[in-house]
């Protein structure tokens, strides 16, 4: 496989500007912290209705599809539903739980959480735009029935390397 492709910062900014109006998502070597703060991600503070933690994309072994995992915490008093997921890493994104494609959305109970983990569920990214290698980050746009849209940036974790541990919001 080819070496990890890193976009120069200027090109990255240009790309960001170009896609910001359209998809608003780009896969590249964006430092996670910068992207998180810029995106007002769910991990920014306890006031967020939905907090996402422990997110990662597993480096794909097949080069054609990849799986993303994360834990969603609902900090509100009412149920929320993850209704759509888009990714900057591939053209086709779908939510799978219990080994099945999930078309109706994923419900997160009030003050509860839902974890996507190997064997339990994942976001499947197909028609990858390019190789996904450790060191890269992947952006996701999560759409919730109540909380609206949330931009999430997660690292690509190498095959066999330990996954990040989710942390519950305080």
């Amino acid at each position: 496989m080819g070496a990890v492709r890193r976009l120069p910062l200027s090109m990255l900014l240009a790309v960001l500007l170009v896609v910001a109006g359209a998809a608003g998502l780009v896969r590249g070597s964006i430092p996670s912290s910068a992207a998180l703060s810029a995106a007002a991600d769910g991990t920014a503070g306890p006031q967020q209705p939905i907090v996402v933690s422990g997110g990662y994309v597993r480096e794909p072994a097949n080069g054609v599809s990849a799986a993303a995992y994360f834990t969603l915490y609902n900090t509100t008093d009412s149920i929320d539903v993850l209704t759509a997921v888009d990714s900057g890493a591939g053209a086709q994104v779908s939510l799978h739980t219990d080994g099945m494609q999930h078309s109706a959305g994923l419900s997160i109970p009030p003050h509860g959480s839902v974890s996507l983990a190997p064997g339990k569920g994942h976001v499947m990214i197909e028609k990858l735009y390019g190789p996904l290698k450790p060191g890269q980050s992947v952006n996701f746009q999560l759409t919730f029935a109540q909380a609206g849209q949330l931009l999430l940036t997660v690292p690509v974790i190498a095959i066999g390397a330990p996954a990040p541990t989710p942390e519950a919001p305080r």
Partner: protein
């Protein structure tokens, strides 16, 4: 008592395998509060294995497929006497297959060198159309770096792959191989499988714990 638990664990595991089997299917589903594999494995306590105890043990199966070099591979005879991990899956499986193969590799990295050198890992693809020899070879090479024995990738016609699954007593894959058993069978040096593994967060540790128990240490 432990035998009873073992039987229950086995039955429950079969149900779980049937329910969990595979990575993708077309129909919608909702999350359920089914027991996790690690919970089931707790019930196998007393067998001495971290994985799921198989009682009665299953003999090493005889089936013939083709390896990634295009050569005929007779599983029963060519792996005989060696600890062997057998798993059925397909390369575009996004979730269970790559996680399981990575867990097997990490488990192998955690056992003594003498055990690691004896152990064979065999992956049989259930996607007979897409998984060519080249695809299978390139896929497995992502998991076995640094290990003394390369992972063996096997393929065949639909009837050959079906026959292999029947011989190994795993749930027959459906939907062009995309819905398949997630069970990893571990055959020992004595050519019997007394333990199997299901996807769980500590699968690598289970493999590392149980492999030395079934390897020939003489």
């Amino acid at each position: 008592m432990s035998r009873l638990w073992s039987l229950w664990a086995r039955l429950a595991a079969l149900l779980l395998v049937a329910a969990l089997a595979g990575c993708v299917s077309g129909s919608a589903g909702t999350p359920t509060a089914s027991p996790s594999a690690s919970e089931l494995n707790d019930h196998a306590a007393g067998s001495g294995y971290s994985g799921l105890g198989l009682d009665p043990p299953q003999p090493r199966p005889q089936f013939t497929l083709t390896d990634t070099a295009g050569k005929t591979f007779r599983f029963g005879t060519q792996t005989a006497g060696k600890p062997t991990l057998l798993f059925f899956g397909y390369t575009t499986c996004p979730d269970v297959c790559p996680t399981t193969l990575a867990d097997i590799a990490n488990g192998l990295r955690g056992v003594p060198e003498t055990v690691r050198k004896q152990t064979q890992v065999v992956f049989v693809t259930t996607d007979v159309k897409h998984d060519t020899a080249a695809v299978l070879k390139s896929y497995l090479a992502k998991f076995d770096p640094g290990l003394p024995n390369r992972f063996i990738g096997l393929r065949g016609t639909q009837s050959e792959v079906d026959a292999a699954q029947v011989a190994a007593h795993v749930t027959l894959a459906e939907d062009e191989g995309r819905t398949h058993s997630s069970e990893v069978l571990l055959y020992g040096s004595d050519d019997y499988a007394r333990v199997a593994f299901l996807q769980s967060t500590n699968q690598a540790e289970q493999v590392a714990h149980d492999l030395p128990l079934v390897a020939d240490t003489k």
